[in-house]
C-alpha cells in the first residue's frame, strides 16, 4: 500500500483522533491555567494553610508521574465510588499535572516583578487585590508567557497518554491502525507528524503572537 493510499484509507480516522486530541488539549489547558493561577497565588499567600494546600498540590502532581496519576484516577477512584468517564478522567489528569508545573511559573513570575511596583501601588493606596490585579499580574503575565509556551507543548504531549485509558485520541487511532495493518512506520509516523504540526505550526505561533500582543499592551512592543 502506498502512502497516499494509506492516507486515503485511514485519513478520516486520523482526523477524528486529532479532533479528540484537540478537545483534550483545550480542556486540559484551561484546567491547567486555572489551577496554576489559583495554586501559584496560594503558594505566595502568608496564610500557612493556603500555602500548605498549594505546596502539597504542586509537590504531589509534579512528584508523581502523569501516567501514574492518570491510572490512579481511572482505576482507583472508582473503587471509592467516584467514577468519571474516561474522556473526563483524561483531560482532568493532564490538566491537574501540568497545572502544578504552571503554578511554579505563576509564582516565579509574580516574584520577578520588581519590589518597587508593589511599593508604588501601595503608595497609591490601592487595595492588595487591586495591586495584584491591576499592577502585578499584567507584568507577571508577560514574564511567564515564554516558559508557558514550552509547558503548553508538554501538555499537548501529555494528552497522548489518555489513549492508554482508551480515549480515542490521535495516538489511540494510530495504535488501532498499527494493530490492523502492521504498517507501523505509516501508522505511528502519521500521528507524529500531526502532533508536530499542532505544536510547531499552531501552538507555537499562537504563543508567539500572544507574547507580542501582551508586550505591546504593556508598551514594550
Amino acid at each position: 500500500m502506498s502512502y497516499p493510499e494509506f492516507l486515503a484509507e485511514y485519513g478520516g480516522r486520523y482526523i477524528d483522533g486529532a479532533l479528540i486530541t484537540a478537545a483534550q488539549f483545550i480542556l486540559a489547558a484551561a484546567l491547567a491555567i486555572v489551577m496554576a493561577l489559583i495554586m501559584g497565588l496560594l503558594k505566595l499567600s502568608s496564610n500557612p494553610i493556603a500555602k500548605g494546600v498549594a505546596v502539597v498540590y504542586i509537590e504531589f502532581f509534579r512528584g508523581t508521574s502523569l501516567l501514574v496519576q492518570l491510572f490512579w484516577l481511572f482505576y482507583v477512584l472508582p473503587l471509592f465510588g467516584l467514577t468519571f468517564d474516561k474522556f473526563t478522567t483524561g483531560f482532568v489528569a493532564v490538566g491537574l499535572n501540568l497545572g502544578a508545573y504552571g503554578a511554579e511559573l505563576v509564582r516565579g513570575a509574580i516574584q520577578s516583578v520588581p519590589k518597587g511596583q508593589w511599593e508604588a501601588s501601595y503608595a497609591l493606596s490601592m487595595s492588595p487585590a487591586a495591586q495584584m490585579r491591576r499592577i502585578i499580574l499584567p507584568q507577571a503575565f508577560v514574564a511567564m508567557l515564554p516558559p508557558w509556551g514550552n509547558l503548553i507543548i508538554e501538555l499537548l504531549k501529555g494528552t497522548a497518554l489518555v489513549a492508554l485509558i482508551a480515549v480515542s485520541d490521535l495516538m489511540f487511532e494510530a495504535r488501532q491502525i498499527n494493530g490492523s495493518t502492521y504498517l507501523s512506520a505509516q501508522a505511528f509516523g502519521t500521528a507524529l507528524i500531526i502532533y508536530y504540526i499542532f505544536a510547531r505550526f499552531l501552538i507555537t505561533p499562537f504563543m508567539r503572537w500572544l507574547e507580542r500582543v501582551m508586550a505591546r499592551r504593556l508598551g514594550r512592543g
Binding site: 509537590e59 504531589f60 509534579r62 512528584g63 508523581t64 508521574s65 502523569l66 501516567l67 501514574v68 496519576q69 491510572f71 490512579w72 482505576y75 482507583v76 473503587l79 471509592f80 507543548i153 499537548l156 504531549k157 501529555g158 494528552t159 497522548a160 497518554l161 489513549a163 492508554l164 495516538m171 494510530a174 495504535r175 498499527n178 502492521y182 504498517l183 507501523s184 512506520a185 501508522a187 505511528f188 509516523g189 500521528a191 507524529l192 502532533y195 508536530y196 505544536a199 510547531r200 507555537t204
Partner: protein, 221 residues
C-alpha cells in the same frame, strides 16, 4: 475499598525489584541522553548551515511530539523492516533520544552563557576548536547547565512508566500486572506514586547542592 497492608507487604518485594529496573532504565536512558545531547548541541554550532538547520529541526520534532508515541514508533517500525528490537533496546533508544533533545537545549543555553571574551582568549592563545570546547567552553557551560540537567534526570525517572507500554518490566509494568492478577489496583498504583514522590521530593535540594559543589570545584564564585 480498604487499604490492605497485608497485600502491600506481599507485593513489596516485586515492587522493589521493579523499582531497580526503573532506576536502571532511567540511568541508561540518561547516559545516552547526556552524550547524544552534547552531540546534538555541538552539531548546531558547526559552520555548516545545512547540518545546523537539519539538526535544529530534528530536535524540535523530537521535543514537540509525545514520548509514548516515539516509544511505539521505535519498537514497532524496526520489525516492519526486518529489524527486531527488544523492548529494552527500543525503549532506551526512544527515551535516550527524547531526553537528548531536551539536554541539547540545556547545553546550548549553557554554551551561549559563556562570555564571548572566552572564545576570543582561546583564539589569542591559538587553541584548536576542539580544545576550545573541551578545555574552556564546556567546563564553564557546566554550572549553568546543572540545574536543567538535574531536572531532566528527575524527569526521565518519571517518564519511565511509559516504557511499560512496550513491556519493559519497570514499576508501572509491575503495578499493572499485579493489579490485573489480583483485581486490586489501589496498593500497586499508590506504591508507584510514593516511590516517584520519594525520588523527586529531595531532588530540588540535591540539585542545588550539586550545582554549588560544581561551581566550587571549578573555582567559580
Amino acid at each position: 475499598m480498604q487499604w490492605s497492608w497485608e497485600f502491600t507487604y506481599e507485593i513489596m518485594p516485586r515492587m522493589l525489584w521493579a523499582t531497580l529496573n526503573t532506576l536502571m532504565a532511567a540511568g541508561i536512558g540518561y547516559a545516552i541522553a547526556v552524550v547524544l545531547g552534547l552531540v546534538l548541541a555541538l552539531a548546531q554550532r558547526t559552520p555548516y548551515r545545512g547540518l545546523t538547520l537539519v539538526v535544529r529541526e530534528v530536535v524540535e520534532f523530537i521535543r514537540s511530539t509525545p514520548l509514548v508515541l516515539q516509544i511505539f514508533f521505535v519498537y514497532y517500525v524496526g520489525p516492519q523492516y526486518g529489524l527486531n528490537l527488544s523492548p529494552w533496546v527500543a525503549g532506551m533508544i526512544a527515551i535516550g533520544l527524547h531526553y537528548a533533545s531536551y539536554l541539547s537545549e540545556v547545553y546550548r543555553g549553557g554554551i551561549e552563557s559563556v562570555a564571548k571574551g572566552q572564545w576570543e582568549a582561546c583564539t589569542a592563545l591559538n587553541m584548536t576548536p576542539m580544545k576550545t570546547y573541551f578545555r574552556v567552553i564546556i567546563p564553564q557551560a557546566l554550572p549553568p547547565s546543572v540545574a536543567g540537567m538535574g531536572n531532566y534526570l528527575v524527569g526521565i525517572v518519571k517518564d519511565t512508566p511509559m516504557l511499560s507500554v512496550i513491556g519493559v518490566a519497570e514499576l508501572m509494568h509491575a503495578a499493572n500486572a499485579i493489579g490485573g492478577q489480583n483485581y486490586r489496583y489501589l496498593e500497586p498504583y499508590t506504591i508507584v506514586g510514593v516511590v516517584f514522590l520519594m525520588i523527586s521530593l529531595p531532588s530540588a535540594g540535591l540539585i542545588r547542592a550539586f550545582e554549588a559543589w560544581v561551581r566550587r570545584k571549578l573555582g567559580m564564585r
